[in-house]
Protein backbone atom coordinates (compact mmCIF):
# COMPACT_ATOMS: atom_id res chain seq x y z
CA UNK A 1 0.00 0.00 0.00
CA UNK A 2 1.94 2.95 1.29
CA UNK A 3 4.93 1.67 -0.60
CA UNK A 4 3.71 2.63 -4.00
CA UNK A 5 4.63 6.17 -3.04
CA UNK A 6 8.23 5.49 -2.60
CA UNK A 7 8.59 3.26 -5.58
CA UNK A 8 7.86 5.74 -8.25
CA UNK A 9 6.66 8.94 -6.81
CA UNK A 10 3.94 8.66 -9.39
CA UNK A 11 1.22 6.98 -7.54
CA UNK A 12 0.58 9.54 -4.87
CA UNK A 13 0.83 12.50 -7.13
CA UNK A 14 -2.76 13.47 -7.45
CA UNK A 15 -3.55 13.36 -3.77
CA UNK A 16 -0.26 14.81 -2.67
CA UNK A 17 -0.75 17.75 -4.97
CA UNK A 18 -3.87 18.71 -3.14
CA UNK A 19 -2.22 19.84 0.06
CA UNK A 20 1.47 20.50 -0.37
CA UNK A 21 1.80 23.81 1.41
CA UNK A 22 -0.51 22.80 4.19
CA UNK A 23 1.47 19.69 4.97
CA UNK A 24 4.50 21.67 6.00
CA UNK A 25 3.08 24.71 7.68
CA UNK A 26 -0.13 23.62 9.42
CA UNK A 27 -0.87 20.55 11.54
CA UNK A 28 -1.95 17.72 9.25
CA UNK A 29 -5.67 17.54 8.72
CA UNK A 30 -7.38 14.58 7.12
CA UNK A 31 -8.79 14.99 3.62
CA UNK A 32 -12.52 14.28 3.79
CA UNK A 33 -12.71 12.61 0.38
CA UNK A 34 -9.80 10.29 1.08
CA UNK A 35 -11.22 9.56 4.51
CA UNK A 36 -14.63 8.79 3.06
CA UNK A 37 -13.10 6.38 0.61
CA UNK A 38 -10.92 4.67 3.19
CA UNK A 39 -13.81 4.19 5.60
CA UNK A 40 -15.84 2.72 2.77
CA UNK A 41 -12.90 0.52 1.86
CA UNK A 42 -12.53 -0.74 5.40
CA UNK A 43 -16.19 -1.68 5.56
CA UNK A 44 -15.80 -3.42 2.20
CA UNK A 45 -12.91 -5.55 3.41
CA UNK A 46 -14.92 -6.66 6.44
CA UNK A 47 -17.72 -7.46 4.01
CA UNK A 48 -15.28 -9.67 2.11
CA UNK A 49 -14.64 -11.73 5.21
CA UNK A 50 -18.09 -11.91 6.77
CA UNK A 51 -20.16 -12.90 5.01
CA UNK A 52 -18.16 -12.97 1.73
CA UNK A 53 -15.41 -15.47 2.34
CA UNK A 54 -17.55 -17.33 4.87
CA UNK A 55 -20.19 -17.96 2.21
CA UNK A 56 -17.72 -18.70 -0.56
CA UNK A 57 -16.12 -21.37 1.59
CA UNK A 58 -19.31 -22.40 3.36
CA UNK A 59 -21.15 -23.16 0.16
CA UNK A 60 -18.37 -25.53 -0.84
CA UNK A 61 -18.53 -27.79 2.20
CA UNK A 62 -21.16 -30.36 3.00
CA UNK A 63 -24.27 -29.30 4.87
CA UNK A 64 -23.09 -30.88 8.09
CA UNK A 65 -20.02 -28.62 8.23
CA UNK A 66 -21.56 -25.36 7.11
CA UNK A 67 -21.72 -23.65 10.47
CA UNK A 68 -18.21 -24.69 11.37
CA UNK A 69 -16.91 -22.73 8.41
CA UNK A 70 -19.04 -19.72 9.25
CA UNK A 71 -17.93 -19.87 12.87
CA UNK A 72 -14.29 -20.17 11.99
CA UNK A 73 -14.43 -17.11 9.76
CA UNK A 74 -16.37 -15.14 12.35
CA UNK A 75 -14.26 -16.03 15.35
CA UNK A 76 -10.97 -15.55 13.53
CA UNK A 77 -12.14 -12.09 12.51
CA UNK A 78 -13.12 -11.25 16.07
CA UNK A 79 -9.98 -12.67 17.60
CA UNK A 80 -7.56 -10.98 15.25
CA UNK A 81 -9.28 -7.61 15.65
CA UNK A 82 -8.90 -7.67 19.41
CA UNK A 83 -5.28 -8.78 19.06
CA UNK A 84 -4.75 -6.02 16.53
CA UNK A 85 -5.70 -3.36 19.04
CA UNK A 86 -3.44 -4.72 21.72
CA UNK A 87 -0.28 -5.69 19.84
CA UNK A 88 -0.93 -6.29 16.17
CA UNK A 89 -0.95 -2.69 14.99
CA UNK A 90 2.16 -1.96 16.92
CA UNK A 91 4.03 -5.01 15.67
CA UNK A 92 3.21 -4.07 12.08
CA UNK A 93 3.18 -0.28 12.15
CA UNK A 94 4.51 0.67 15.57
CA UNK A 95 7.11 2.98 14.11
CA UNK A 96 10.14 0.95 15.22
CA UNK A 97 13.23 0.92 12.97
CA UNK A 98 13.56 -2.84 12.45
CA UNK A 99 13.04 -4.25 8.96
CA UNK A 100 11.22 -7.21 10.53
CA UNK A 101 8.64 -5.74 12.87
CA UNK A 102 7.25 -2.48 14.11
CA UNK A 103 8.16 -2.73 17.78
CA UNK A 104 6.00 -2.16 20.83
CA UNK A 105 5.65 1.60 20.56
CA UNK A 106 1.93 1.54 19.84
CA UNK A 107 0.71 -1.29 22.04
CA UNK A 108 -2.99 -0.83 22.74
CA UNK A 109 -2.91 1.97 20.14
CA UNK A 110 -0.91 4.13 22.53
CA UNK A 111 -0.66 7.68 21.29
CA UNK A 112 -3.26 7.35 18.58
CA UNK A 113 -6.12 9.82 18.95
CA UNK A 114 -8.87 10.96 16.68
CA UNK A 115 -6.68 13.85 15.64
CA UNK A 116 -3.75 11.65 14.62
CA UNK A 117 -3.30 11.63 10.89
CA UNK A 118 -1.58 9.09 8.67
CA UNK A 119 -0.97 10.46 5.19
CA UNK A 120 -4.21 12.21 4.32
CA UNK A 121 -6.49 10.16 6.54
CA UNK A 122 -7.06 9.80 10.28
CA UNK A 123 -4.69 7.25 11.77
CA UNK A 124 -7.69 5.39 13.22
CA UNK A 125 -8.91 4.86 9.70
CA UNK A 126 -5.50 3.67 8.54
CA UNK A 127 -5.35 1.31 11.48
CA UNK A 128 -8.84 0.02 10.82
CA UNK A 129 -8.14 -0.54 7.15
CA UNK A 130 -5.01 -2.52 7.97
CA UNK A 131 -6.91 -4.40 10.65
CA UNK A 132 -9.36 -5.74 8.11
CA UNK A 133 -6.45 -7.14 6.11
CA UNK A 134 -5.07 -8.77 9.22
CA UNK A 135 -8.44 -10.41 9.79
CA UNK A 136 -9.13 -11.77 6.34
CA UNK A 137 -5.70 -13.27 5.75
CA UNK A 138 -5.85 -15.99 8.41
CA UNK A 139 -9.47 -16.66 7.53
CA UNK A 140 -8.31 -17.63 4.04
CA UNK A 141 -6.25 -20.44 5.53
CA UNK A 142 -9.15 -22.46 6.90
CA UNK A 143 -10.27 -23.60 3.47
CA UNK A 144 -7.48 -26.14 3.17
CA UNK A 145 -8.39 -28.17 6.23
CA UNK A 146 -12.10 -27.47 6.37
CA UNK A 147 -14.41 -30.22 7.63
CA UNK A 148 -11.92 -31.73 10.10
CA UNK A 149 -10.10 -29.12 12.18
CA UNK A 150 -10.65 -28.82 15.92
CA UNK A 151 -12.15 -25.44 16.72
CA UNK A 152 -10.09 -24.55 19.79
CA UNK A 153 -6.91 -25.64 18.06
CA UNK A 154 -7.67 -23.41 15.13
CA UNK A 155 -8.13 -20.34 17.30
CA UNK A 156 -4.88 -20.94 19.14
CA UNK A 157 -3.06 -21.49 15.87
CA UNK A 158 -4.42 -18.29 14.38
CA UNK A 159 -3.51 -16.20 17.41
CA UNK A 160 0.07 -17.44 17.15
CA UNK A 161 0.22 -17.28 13.37
CA UNK A 162 -1.01 -13.69 13.22
CA UNK A 163 1.58 -12.70 15.75
CA UNK A 164 4.57 -14.53 14.36
CA UNK A 165 3.81 -14.59 10.66
CA UNK A 166 1.28 -11.98 9.58
CA UNK A 167 2.31 -8.91 11.56
CA UNK A 168 6.01 -9.26 10.69
CA UNK A 169 5.37 -9.84 7.00
CA UNK A 170 2.89 -6.95 6.87
CA UNK A 171 5.61 -4.79 8.35
CA UNK A 172 8.15 -6.01 5.83
CA UNK A 173 5.91 -5.22 2.91
CA UNK A 174 4.08 -2.05 3.86
CA UNK A 175 6.06 -0.18 6.47
CA UNK A 176 8.65 2.20 5.12
CA UNK A 177 11.31 0.54 7.28
CA UNK A 178 10.24 -2.95 6.16
CA UNK A 179 12.50 -5.43 4.42
CA UNK A 180 10.59 -5.84 1.17
CA UNK A 181 9.61 -2.21 1.12
CA UNK A 182 13.28 -1.24 1.14
CA UNK A 183 14.05 -3.82 -1.50
CA UNK A 184 11.50 -2.07 -3.69
CA UNK A 185 9.18 -5.05 -4.02
CA UNK A 186 6.04 -4.09 -5.89
CA UNK A 187 3.02 -5.41 -4.06
CA UNK A 188 0.24 -2.89 -4.33
CA UNK A 189 -2.45 -4.51 -2.23
CA UNK A 190 -0.92 -7.55 -0.64
CA UNK A 191 -0.28 -10.40 -3.05
CA UNK A 192 2.58 -11.67 -0.91
CA UNK A 193 1.49 -10.73 2.56
CA UNK A 194 -2.08 -11.89 2.09
CA UNK A 195 -2.40 -14.53 -0.58
CA UNK A 196 0.94 -16.26 -0.86
CA UNK A 197 1.32 -16.03 2.89
CA UNK A 198 -2.07 -17.57 3.67
CA UNK A 199 -1.84 -19.97 0.75
CA UNK A 200 1.38 -21.57 1.87
CA UNK A 201 0.24 -21.76 5.50
CA UNK A 202 -2.89 -23.49 4.24
CA UNK A 203 -0.88 -25.93 2.17
CA UNK A 204 1.31 -26.91 5.09
CA UNK A 205 -1.83 -27.21 7.19
CA UNK A 206 -3.64 -29.68 4.98
CA UNK A 207 -0.53 -31.81 4.70
CA UNK A 208 -0.05 -31.94 8.45
CA UNK A 209 -3.71 -32.48 9.32
CA UNK A 210 -4.31 -35.14 6.72
CA UNK A 211 -7.15 -36.01 4.42
CA UNK A 212 -10.81 -36.02 5.26
CA UNK A 213 -12.41 -39.36 6.00
CA UNK A 214 -13.87 -40.63 2.74
CA UNK A 215 -11.75 -38.33 0.59
CA UNK A 216 -11.82 -39.50 -3.00
CA UNK A 217 -14.66 -41.91 -2.23
CA UNK A 218 -17.62 -40.09 -0.73
CA UNK A 219 -19.56 -37.48 -2.60
CA UNK A 220 -18.22 -34.23 -1.19
CA UNK A 221 -20.01 -31.97 -3.63
CA UNK A 222 -20.63 -28.39 -2.47
CA UNK A 223 -23.81 -28.14 -0.44
CA UNK A 224 -24.80 -24.84 -1.99
CA UNK A 225 -23.20 -23.54 -5.13
CA UNK A 226 -25.62 -20.64 -4.82
CA UNK A 227 -23.99 -19.48 -1.60
CA UNK A 228 -20.56 -19.98 -3.09
CA UNK A 229 -21.47 -17.74 -5.98
CA UNK A 230 -22.87 -15.13 -3.59
CA UNK A 231 -19.71 -15.30 -1.53
CA UNK A 232 -17.48 -14.96 -4.58
CA UNK A 233 -19.49 -11.98 -5.79
CA UNK A 234 -19.23 -10.31 -2.41
CA UNK A 235 -15.50 -10.93 -2.52
CA UNK A 236 -15.35 -9.16 -5.86
CA UNK A 237 -17.37 -6.20 -4.65
CA UNK A 238 -15.40 -5.99 -1.42
CA UNK A 239 -12.10 -6.35 -3.19
CA UNK A 240 -12.41 -2.78 -4.50
CA UNK A 241 -11.94 -1.71 -0.91
CA UNK A 242 -8.99 -4.05 -0.69
CA UNK A 243 -7.28 -2.99 -3.91
CA UNK A 244 -8.41 0.54 -4.67
CA UNK A 245 -8.37 1.21 -0.93
CA UNK A 246 -4.70 0.34 -0.94
CA UNK A 247 -4.08 3.66 -2.67
CA UNK A 248 -4.97 5.11 0.73
CA UNK A 249 -6.66 7.95 -1.10
CA UNK A 250 -9.45 8.64 -3.58
CA UNK A 251 -7.35 9.55 -6.58
CA UNK A 252 -6.25 8.43 -10.02
CA UNK A 253 -4.15 5.59 -8.66
CA UNK A 254 -7.17 4.28 -6.81
CA UNK A 255 -9.09 4.59 -10.07
CA UNK A 256 -6.42 2.59 -11.86
CA UNK A 257 -6.48 -0.08 -9.16
CA UNK A 258 -10.23 -0.18 -9.48
CA UNK A 259 -10.46 -0.62 -13.23
CA UNK A 260 -7.79 -3.30 -13.07
CA UNK A 261 -9.67 -5.12 -10.36
CA UNK A 262 -12.70 -5.11 -12.60
CA UNK A 263 -11.17 -6.23 -15.82
CA UNK A 264 -8.56 -8.72 -14.65
CA UNK A 265 -11.30 -10.51 -12.77
CA UNK A 266 -13.60 -10.43 -15.75
CA UNK A 267 -10.87 -11.88 -17.93
CA UNK A 268 -10.06 -14.61 -15.43
CA UNK A 269 -13.73 -15.63 -15.28
CA UNK A 270 -13.76 -15.95 -19.05
CA UNK A 271 -10.56 -17.93 -19.25
CA UNK A 272 -11.48 -20.37 -16.48
CA UNK A 273 -14.82 -20.97 -18.17
CA UNK A 274 -13.12 -21.39 -21.51
CA UNK A 275 -10.65 -23.92 -20.16
CA UNK A 276 -13.46 -25.88 -18.56
CA UNK A 277 -15.48 -25.69 -21.70
CA UNK A 278 -12.62 -27.22 -23.60
CA UNK A 279 -11.69 -29.79 -20.96
CA UNK A 280 -15.14 -31.11 -20.09
CA UNK A 281 -17.51 -29.55 -22.55
CA UNK A 282 -19.32 -27.44 -20.00
CA UNK A 283 -18.49 -24.32 -18.05
CA UNK A 284 -19.55 -24.61 -14.43
CA UNK A 285 -20.53 -22.03 -11.86
CA UNK A 286 -17.82 -23.28 -9.54
CA UNK A 287 -15.39 -22.74 -12.37
CA UNK A 288 -16.55 -19.19 -12.95
CA UNK A 289 -16.43 -18.46 -9.23
CA UNK A 290 -12.95 -19.95 -9.02
CA UNK A 291 -11.81 -17.87 -11.95
CA UNK A 292 -13.26 -14.81 -10.26
CA UNK A 293 -11.23 -15.39 -7.13
CA UNK A 294 -8.11 -16.36 -9.07
CA UNK A 295 -8.33 -13.15 -11.07
CA UNK A 296 -8.79 -11.08 -7.92
CA UNK A 297 -5.83 -12.75 -6.26
CA UNK A 298 -3.58 -12.26 -9.26
CA UNK A 299 -4.40 -8.60 -9.78
CA UNK A 300 -3.91 -7.77 -6.10
CA UNK A 301 -0.18 -7.07 -6.18
CA UNK A 302 -0.40 -5.57 -9.66
CA UNK A 303 -3.48 -3.38 -9.55
CA UNK A 304 -1.81 -0.01 -8.98
CA UNK A 305 1.10 -0.67 -11.32
CA UNK A 306 -0.18 -2.22 -14.52
CA UNK A 307 -2.49 -0.82 -17.19
CA UNK A 308 -5.98 -2.18 -17.95
CA UNK A 309 -4.87 -4.17 -20.98
CA UNK A 310 -2.07 -5.70 -18.94
CA UNK A 311 -4.67 -6.51 -16.30
CA UNK A 312 -6.81 -8.32 -18.84
CA UNK A 313 -3.84 -10.40 -19.96
CA UNK A 314 -2.95 -11.17 -16.36
CA UNK A 315 -6.50 -12.35 -15.78
CA UNK A 316 -6.52 -14.49 -18.90
CA UNK A 317 -3.28 -16.15 -17.86
CA UNK A 318 -3.91 -16.87 -14.21
CA UNK A 319 -6.99 -19.07 -14.56
CA UNK A 320 -5.45 -21.83 -16.66
CA UNK A 321 -2.52 -21.99 -14.27
CA UNK A 322 -4.73 -22.30 -11.21
CA UNK A 323 -6.99 -24.73 -13.04
CA UNK A 324 -4.01 -26.93 -13.69
CA UNK A 325 -3.11 -26.90 -10.01
CA UNK A 326 -6.56 -27.61 -8.59
CA UNK A 327 -7.18 -30.42 -11.03
CA UNK A 328 -4.07 -32.14 -12.33
CA UNK A 329 -1.51 -31.28 -9.69
CA UNK A 330 -3.82 -31.84 -6.73
CA UNK A 331 -5.00 -35.19 -7.97
CA UNK A 332 -1.50 -36.36 -8.90
CA UNK A 333 -0.11 -35.64 -5.47
CA UNK A 334 -3.28 -36.56 -3.67
CA UNK A 335 -3.23 -33.95 -0.89
CA UNK A 336 -6.62 -32.87 0.41
CA UNK A 337 -6.66 -29.08 0.16
CA UNK A 338 -10.42 -29.10 0.67
CA UNK A 339 -11.29 -25.76 -0.87
CA UNK A 340 -8.13 -25.20 -2.95
CA UNK A 341 -6.51 -22.44 -0.97
CA UNK A 342 -3.10 -23.45 -2.24
CA UNK A 343 -4.15 -23.85 -5.85
CA UNK A 344 -5.99 -20.57 -6.03
CA UNK A 345 -4.47 -18.21 -3.48
CA UNK A 346 -0.87 -19.31 -3.34
CA UNK A 347 -0.46 -20.12 -7.02
CA UNK A 348 -2.61 -17.18 -8.11
CA UNK A 349 -0.66 -14.91 -5.78
CA UNK A 350 2.69 -16.06 -7.12
CA UNK A 351 1.49 -15.62 -10.69
CA UNK A 352 0.37 -12.11 -9.87
CA UNK A 353 3.53 -11.17 -8.02
CA UNK A 354 5.80 -12.31 -10.82
CA UNK A 355 3.72 -10.80 -13.62
CA UNK A 356 3.50 -7.50 -11.76
CA UNK A 357 7.21 -7.15 -12.33
CA UNK A 358 6.66 -7.52 -16.05
CA UNK A 359 3.42 -5.71 -16.81
CA UNK A 360 4.39 -2.73 -14.68
CA UNK A 361 6.70 -1.83 -17.51
CA UNK A 362 5.59 1.26 -19.41
CA UNK A 363 6.16 -0.86 -22.50
CA UNK A 364 3.09 -2.83 -21.49
CA UNK A 365 1.05 0.17 -20.39
CA UNK A 366 2.13 0.03 -16.75
CA UNK A 367 3.29 2.90 -14.55
CA UNK A 368 6.95 1.89 -14.77
CA UNK A 369 9.60 0.88 -12.25
CA UNK A 370 11.25 2.81 -9.43
CA UNK A 371 14.03 5.04 -10.64
CA UNK A 372 16.94 3.07 -12.00
CA UNK A 373 15.21 -0.29 -11.84
CA UNK A 374 14.95 -2.59 -14.86
CA UNK A 375 12.38 -5.27 -15.60
CA UNK A 376 14.92 -7.96 -14.88
CA UNK A 377 16.04 -6.28 -11.69
CA UNK A 378 12.47 -5.89 -10.56
CA UNK A 379 11.70 -9.50 -11.29
CA UNK A 380 14.55 -10.59 -9.05
CA UNK A 381 13.18 -8.43 -6.26
CA UNK A 382 9.74 -9.91 -6.80
CA UNK A 383 11.11 -13.43 -6.64
CA UNK A 384 13.04 -12.67 -3.50
CA UNK A 385 9.93 -11.33 -1.81
CA UNK A 386 7.90 -14.36 -2.85
CA UNK A 387 10.51 -16.84 -1.70
CA UNK A 388 11.10 -15.12 1.60
CA UNK A 389 7.38 -15.16 2.27
CA UNK A 390 7.01 -18.81 1.33
CA UNK A 391 9.87 -19.85 3.54
CA UNK A 392 9.02 -17.68 6.52
CA UNK A 393 5.34 -18.53 6.44
CA UNK A 394 5.87 -22.18 5.54
CA UNK A 395 8.39 -22.92 8.24
CA UNK A 396 6.81 -20.97 11.07
CA UNK A 397 3.38 -22.36 10.19
CA UNK A 398 4.70 -25.92 10.30
CA UNK A 399 6.18 -25.33 13.74
CA UNK A 400 2.99 -23.77 15.01
CA UNK A 401 0.78 -26.58 13.70
CA UNK A 402 3.03 -29.10 15.42
CA UNK A 403 2.94 -27.13 18.65
CA UNK A 404 -0.82 -26.76 18.63
CA UNK A 405 -1.22 -30.42 17.78
CA UNK A 406 0.80 -31.34 20.83
CA UNK A 407 -1.13 -29.00 23.11
CA UNK A 408 -4.69 -29.46 21.93
CA UNK A 409 -4.74 -31.84 19.00
CA UNK A 410 -5.42 -30.42 15.54
CA UNK A 411 -8.14 -32.77 14.44
CA UNK A 412 -11.53 -33.86 15.74
CA UNK A 413 -12.38 -37.51 16.43
CA UNK A 414 -13.46 -39.65 13.48
CA UNK A 415 -17.02 -39.94 14.77
CA UNK A 416 -17.29 -36.20 15.22
CA UNK A 417 -15.98 -35.69 11.71
CA UNK A 418 -18.51 -38.15 10.35
CA UNK A 419 -21.40 -36.58 12.25
CA UNK A 420 -20.26 -33.20 10.99
CA UNK A 421 -18.61 -30.36 12.84
CA UNK A 422 -21.81 -28.35 13.16
CA UNK A 423 -23.34 -30.75 15.62
CA UNK A 424 -20.19 -32.11 17.16
CA UNK A 425 -18.28 -28.84 17.62
CA UNK A 426 -21.05 -26.26 17.81
CA UNK A 427 -24.16 -28.13 18.88
CA UNK A 428 -26.43 -26.82 16.15
CA UNK A 429 -27.53 -27.55 12.62
CA UNK A 430 -27.41 -25.07 9.77
CA UNK A 431 -30.87 -25.82 8.43
CA UNK A 432 -34.17 -27.07 9.81
CA UNK A 433 -37.24 -27.45 7.74
Amino acid sequence: MANFRKISGLAALASAAALPALADTAPAVANSGDTAWMMTSSALVLFMTVPGLALFYGGLVRTKNMLSVLMQCTLITALVMVIWVFWGYSMAFGGGPSPYWGGFGKLALAGVTKDSVSGTIPEYVFSVFQMTFAAITPALIIGSFAERIKFSALLLFIALWSTLVYFPIAHMVWDSTGLFFKMGAMDFAGGTVVHINAGIAAFVGCLMIGKRIGFGKDNMAPHSMTLTMVGASILWVGWFGFNAGSALAANGTAGLAMINTFVATAAAILSWSAVEGMARGKASMLGAASGMVAGLVAITPACGFVGPVGAVVLGLVVSPICYFFVTTVKSSFGYDDSLDVFGVHCIGGITGALLTGIFASTAFGGVGYPDGQTMMGQEIVQIEAVLTTIIWSGVVSAILYKLVDMVLGLRVEADAEREGLDLSSHGEAAYHS
Binding site: S284, L286, G287, T327, T328, G343
Partner: protein, 112 residues
Protein backbone atom coordinates in the same frame (compact mmCIF):
# COMPACT_ATOMS: atom_id res chain seq x y z
CA UNK B 1 -57.28 -53.90 0.12
CA UNK B 2 -54.00 -53.45 -1.64
CA UNK B 3 -51.11 -51.05 -1.26
CA UNK B 4 -49.88 -49.94 -4.65
CA UNK B 5 -46.36 -48.54 -4.68
CA UNK B 6 -45.24 -46.79 -7.83
CA UNK B 7 -41.94 -45.09 -8.64
CA UNK B 8 -42.44 -42.62 -11.48
CA UNK B 9 -40.74 -39.67 -13.12
CA UNK B 10 -41.28 -36.48 -11.12
CA UNK B 11 -42.68 -34.42 -13.98
CA UNK B 12 -45.42 -37.00 -14.46
CA UNK B 13 -46.79 -36.61 -10.95
CA UNK B 14 -49.54 -34.11 -11.70
CA UNK B 15 -50.79 -36.03 -14.70
CA UNK B 16 -50.89 -39.32 -12.83
CA UNK B 17 -52.59 -37.79 -9.82
CA UNK B 18 -55.30 -36.30 -11.99
CA UNK B 19 -55.87 -39.51 -13.88
CA UNK B 20 -56.11 -41.47 -10.65
CA UNK B 21 -58.53 -38.99 -9.16
CA UNK B 22 -60.75 -39.33 -12.19
CA UNK B 23 -61.06 -43.09 -11.71
CA UNK B 24 -62.01 -42.68 -8.07
CA UNK B 25 -58.78 -42.81 -6.07
CA UNK B 26 -59.30 -40.51 -3.14
CA UNK B 27 -55.98 -40.49 -1.37
CA UNK B 28 -52.29 -41.20 -1.65
CA UNK B 29 -48.93 -40.53 -0.08
CA UNK B 30 -46.22 -39.00 -2.23
CA UNK B 31 -42.52 -39.09 -1.42
CA UNK B 32 -39.52 -37.69 -3.23
CA UNK B 33 -37.00 -40.47 -3.56
CA UNK B 34 -33.75 -41.27 -5.22
CA UNK B 35 -34.23 -44.04 -7.68
CA UNK B 36 -31.68 -46.60 -8.69
CA UNK B 37 -32.22 -48.72 -11.75
CA UNK B 38 -31.20 -49.20 -15.32
CA UNK B 39 -31.56 -45.49 -16.03
CA UNK B 40 -28.13 -44.17 -15.33
CA UNK B 41 -27.36 -41.06 -13.30
CA UNK B 42 -24.96 -38.32 -14.21
CA UNK B 43 -21.50 -37.14 -13.36
CA UNK B 44 -20.67 -33.86 -11.68
CA UNK B 45 -17.17 -32.47 -11.66
CA UNK B 46 -16.09 -29.91 -9.10
CA UNK B 47 -12.61 -28.53 -9.63
CA UNK B 48 -11.38 -31.86 -10.82
CA UNK B 49 -13.21 -33.98 -8.25
CA UNK B 50 -15.59 -36.21 -10.12
CA UNK B 51 -18.76 -37.48 -8.48
CA UNK B 52 -20.86 -40.14 -10.15
CA UNK B 53 -24.40 -39.57 -9.02
CA UNK B 54 -25.93 -43.01 -9.48
CA UNK B 55 -29.36 -42.00 -8.34
CA UNK B 56 -32.07 -40.39 -10.39
CA UNK B 57 -34.81 -38.26 -8.80
CA UNK B 58 -38.11 -40.13 -8.76
CA UNK B 59 -41.42 -39.76 -7.04
CA UNK B 60 -42.93 -42.63 -5.09
CA UNK B 61 -46.70 -42.98 -4.82
CA UNK B 62 -48.28 -45.13 -2.16
CA UNK B 63 -51.96 -45.73 -2.67
CA UNK B 64 -54.21 -48.03 -0.72
CA UNK B 65 -57.29 -49.10 -2.67
CA UNK B 66 -59.95 -51.70 -2.37
CA UNK B 67 -59.23 -54.89 -4.25
CA UNK B 68 -61.72 -54.03 -6.96
CA UNK B 69 -59.86 -50.91 -7.98
CA UNK B 70 -56.38 -52.40 -8.28
CA UNK B 71 -56.39 -53.25 -11.96
CA UNK B 72 -57.81 -49.94 -12.97
CA UNK B 73 -55.16 -48.12 -10.93
CA UNK B 74 -52.39 -50.16 -12.49
CA UNK B 75 -53.72 -49.48 -15.95
CA UNK B 76 -54.03 -45.79 -15.32
CA UNK B 77 -50.52 -45.42 -13.98
CA UNK B 78 -49.14 -47.52 -16.81
CA UNK B 79 -50.81 -45.31 -19.33
CA UNK B 80 -50.11 -41.89 -17.91
CA UNK B 81 -46.60 -42.39 -16.51
CA UNK B 82 -45.27 -43.87 -19.68
CA UNK B 83 -42.84 -41.89 -21.85
CA UNK B 84 -41.28 -44.96 -23.49
CA UNK B 85 -37.92 -43.89 -22.27
CA UNK B 86 -35.81 -45.79 -19.83
CA UNK B 87 -36.55 -44.96 -16.20
CA UNK B 88 -40.31 -44.70 -16.50
CA UNK B 89 -40.65 -46.61 -13.26
CA UNK B 90 -42.11 -49.62 -11.56
CA UNK B 91 -45.32 -50.52 -9.82
CA UNK B 92 -45.60 -52.99 -6.96
CA UNK B 93 -48.71 -54.35 -5.28
CA UNK B 94 -48.84 -55.53 -1.68
CA UNK B 95 -51.56 -56.89 0.47
CA UNK B 96 -53.05 -54.70 3.21
CA UNK B 97 -54.58 -56.18 6.35
CA UNK B 98 -56.38 -53.23 7.80
CA UNK B 99 -57.03 -49.57 7.18
CA UNK B 100 -58.34 -46.95 9.60
CA UNK B 101 -59.26 -43.31 9.17
CA UNK B 102 -57.95 -41.38 12.16
CA UNK B 103 -60.59 -38.68 12.18
CA UNK B 104 -63.61 -41.01 12.25
CA UNK B 105 -62.24 -44.38 13.22
CA UNK B 106 -63.85 -45.89 10.10
CA UNK B 107 -62.06 -49.00 8.98
CA UNK B 108 -61.01 -50.82 5.84
CA UNK B 109 -62.77 -49.90 2.59
CA UNK B 110 -64.67 -47.16 4.39
CA UNK B 111 -61.40 -45.62 5.42
CA UNK B 112 -60.01 -45.17 1.93
Amino acid sequence: MKLIIAAIKPFKLEEVREALTSIGVRGMMVTEIKGFGSQSGHTEIYRGAEYAVNFVPKVKLEIVVSDGLVDQVLDTILKTAKTDKIGDGKIFVLDVDQAVRVRTGETNDDAL
